[in-house]
Amino acid sequence: MSNFRRVYLDHSATTPVDPRVLEAMLPWLTEKFGNASSVHWFGQEARAAVDRARREVAALIGARANEIVFLSGGTEANNLAIRGLCEAAERYGRHIITSDLEHSSVRGICEALAKRGWEVTRLPVYDDGIVRAEDVRAAIRPETVLITVMLANNEIGTIQPIAETGAMVREERGRGHRHLWLHTDAVQAAGRIPIDVETLGCDLLSLSAHKVYAPKGIGALFVRRGVRLVSQNVGGHQERERRAGTEAVPNIVAFGAAAKIAREELSRHAEHVRQLRDRFEMRVKESIDDIVFNGNPNQRLPHISNISFRFIEGEGLLINLDLQGVAVSTGSACSSGTLEPSPVIRALGRNDELARGSIRFSFGKDNTDADVDYVMDVLTRAVENLRRLSPLSRKAILETV
């Protein structure tokens, strides 16, 4: 096909490595190969690079460098934060507050803790996909040790009231509930909206590098000074005893470079993706009927659009789009390999049909207006064609042949 093009609208799944990030990391894969824990010159060169990167990642979220723990990614950050905190705080209580729209890693950790006798309160997110601060307050008990609510959701992009929750946690501590901590998964939010751990008032915050134009396999956990965690990786002194294992120097350098770019270019990129996303949604509204937009339109990340297309199944639409070069993701169960459609869309109170027909379009800094035009062309036809074939649709063709 001569006019075949590819448009990547799945930046919430992962982003391409920025060429500047690649350039920064390459020497650390070749001539600068030292182990950052070695005492000799090669090691010290690597140590200095890791420290520089740590300062950049800290600067992205308004933290101090020594509050950053490098690890393998968002899932490990969530594991260290929640398991590590809960194991350290067990003697003060065994109750966690979380929400209905957390990433599967946080859901999975909370389920595992529940099996070990922890009580877990899951807060509702209503039809707009947002936790209510008053629900958080009502759920706090004397034995609550951790509140873990994501900063912004990965499927619908809704931004949660973490700053209000952080203020509430401080108030609680002021009233004598000293053993209460706040964790937030900021994997989707980082690089898309400004983050400041002081404003948020969180004690733990998870980050992943591959969502901010750095490679996969590297992430970080912000651990506020004074917060105790039980390390989940033992057997080495790295990362101030919090995460044993040789530092992945090239990946850490890449994360540092990406964090610097994200911080310096955040407002420009956010505005760019917001314009593309808003234009895309306007055109979808004009061209396609029987759709439902998922998530509060005013309180969400600038790059995500999540739409349920009635009468069609998300994976059927996803593969149709993929065959025409457009990459998106879906809440359909078929696609995720599970039997249940997206728990996030279901948590909004949507029925199975809407959950199964949900598609996430997530824009990135390299997308263009021409991409939106192409996607609209492909999407409009694909939806029309699939609805023609759907037994749920009124548009099915009835014919005599």
Binding site: F311, I312, E313, E315, G316, L318, I319, N320, L323, Q324, S332, A333, C334, S335, G337, L339, D352, R356, N385, L386, R388, L389, S390, P391, L392, A396, I397, L398, E399, T400, V401
Partner: protein
């Protein structure tokens, strides 16, 4: 496994989509596990399938199985159609990943229900 060219072709250009107004064998079956749905309408005359249309709601393999099945059915006798197996359909598609093979099972099941409902006399006299 990657999807075959036949798969891609049928997904991009489904054959025989729709519903026959004068069908005399119709069935709509749902996969109880994943909710995928397939509707077949067939016009059978003198023991032979004259025309067939499908509607499908589900993942891409379900849509493709519906489309490929309709091509396989045209001109077949009812007895020949009843003899079609899941494997015949999978072979015609060029295979499906194992976790997607339920789509072929749904298509064959829907076909059998339609023929049993619409052509019971023919099948009983066979």
């Amino acid at each position: 496994m990657p999807y075959s060219n036949t798969f891609k072709d049928h997904l991009a250009h489904p054959r025989n989509g729709g519903e026959l107004a004068d069908a005399n064998a119709v069935a709509e079956e749902t996969n109880p596990v994943c909710g995928d749905r397939l509707r077949l309408s067939l016009r059978v005359r003198d023991g032979r399938i004259e025309a067939v249309r499908f509607l499908a709601y589900g993942c891409a393999p379900t849509l493709v199985c519906g489309s490929v099945l309709t091509e396989q059915l045209e001109g077949k006798t009812v007895a020949e159609a009843m003899g079609l197996t899941r494997k015949d359909l999978l072979d015609a598609i060029g295979g499906l990943p194992s976790r997607k093979q339920h789509a072929a099972a749904l298509a064959i099941e829907t076909l059998r229900v339609a023929l049993e409902a619409g052509c019971s006399e023919l099948l009983n006299n066979k």
